[in-house]
Symmetry: C2
Subunit: 200 residues, 2 copies
């Protein structure tokens, strides 16, 4: 049985969103599964001293253009959200809580949250929005609402974020294939070649 | 006559080096020429608040791995230099001085300097090394030695660096194709598609 691909991402990361639209199909083509790992770039940036791309002089306006262009190339709906970036704790907690019960549904939720944020400009930092998006997939709003404040769920996210950082994850998307790390949606072509060839 | 492609790079930039090995062939395939613009990331970083990739926690060690992997994929010799990064003023001045006399030879010099630094681990921040690399291409060492301290040559580099920043160039490589900016050696595939299609 081939190793799964580890897919690290932040729900507030537009390049993570772009990668999320391709990774499952790419993996399946090569007989791999994908484990989705939401993490929080805010925690990562405390370690690396980095800051959100769009806030960096010169780089910021380029990034907005590059995102729109890259999304058009992938034929993926994209609009930089009105409120950007946002903290993705609610979305991430919802994911990990649901993943424990139904991993496949949790991936559907992740895609739905990404779509809500980057295609529909809905502010997924709001627990209400996260709950609403999940409800459309049949998740009970009251149950999820409780889970978002459950200390065990909060702790689960903290552990996952710490584990990601301990593994060297410094960005989004960040993928690990058979121990080899790949950062950025623009590395998916290398990921594909790595899966095809076993590495070079 | 189609517009030339503007290719901005820093001689100390490994991803600039990778792009330099592909850009002329890629452009020629689409009937384009390339104007090479050495600039100085040190000056750019003062504007953007950024720092060299390899000095950033977590990102640094990934970058070293990604560079080696990307170079192997392109079949390009690469070794992160012992002294890295370095200031590329001597190399850049040599380029602009030579470009005024013989643009084709200046590109050959640029490639030779990149090769000296990233394949042979020679410290091109040293004027002596730059002069030596140029001498192998038939450039008179005494003449170039004088040029490196010529106030007009120094001023030319300053003007070029300022012009790059004014144009929004914040990294290396950074390419502009018919007004469209592309940052990173991993955007050359988009550059190629843009040349093929006229944009999307």
């Amino acid at each position: 049985m081939a190793n799964p691909i580890d897919f690290y991402f932040d729900f507030s990361s537009p390049y993570g969103y772009l990668a999320s639209t391709r990774i499952e199909e790419l993996a399946a083509k090569h007989g791999r599964t994908v484990v989705w790992h939401p993490h929080l770039l805010g925690a990562v940036f405390k370690v690396t001293g980095q800051q959100p791309l769009t806030t960096i002089p010169l780089k910021g306006s380029y990034t907005e253009r590059d995102l729109a262009r890259s999304a058009r190339l992938l034929n993926v709906p994209f609009k930089l959200p009105t409120k950007f970036p946002v903290g993705a704790t609610a979305a991430s907690r919802a994911f990990y809580w649901l993943a424990k019960r139904d991993p496949a549904l949790a991936k559907m939720l992740a895609r739905a949250l990404y779509h809500a944020y980057f295609a529909e400009d809905r502010d997924i930092s709001s627990p209400e929005v996260t709950i609403n998006v999940a409800a459309r997939l049949g998740v009970d709003p009251a149950e999820l609402g409780q889970a978002l404040n459950d200390p065990a769920v909060r702790e689960k996210l903290r552990v996952e974020v710490d584990a990601a950082i301990a593994r060297g994850v410094f960005g989004s998307p960040y993928l690990i294939v058979d121990g080899e790390p790949f950062w950025g949606s623009d590395r998916l072509d290398q990921v594909e070649k790595w899966l095809e060839t076993g590495g070079w």
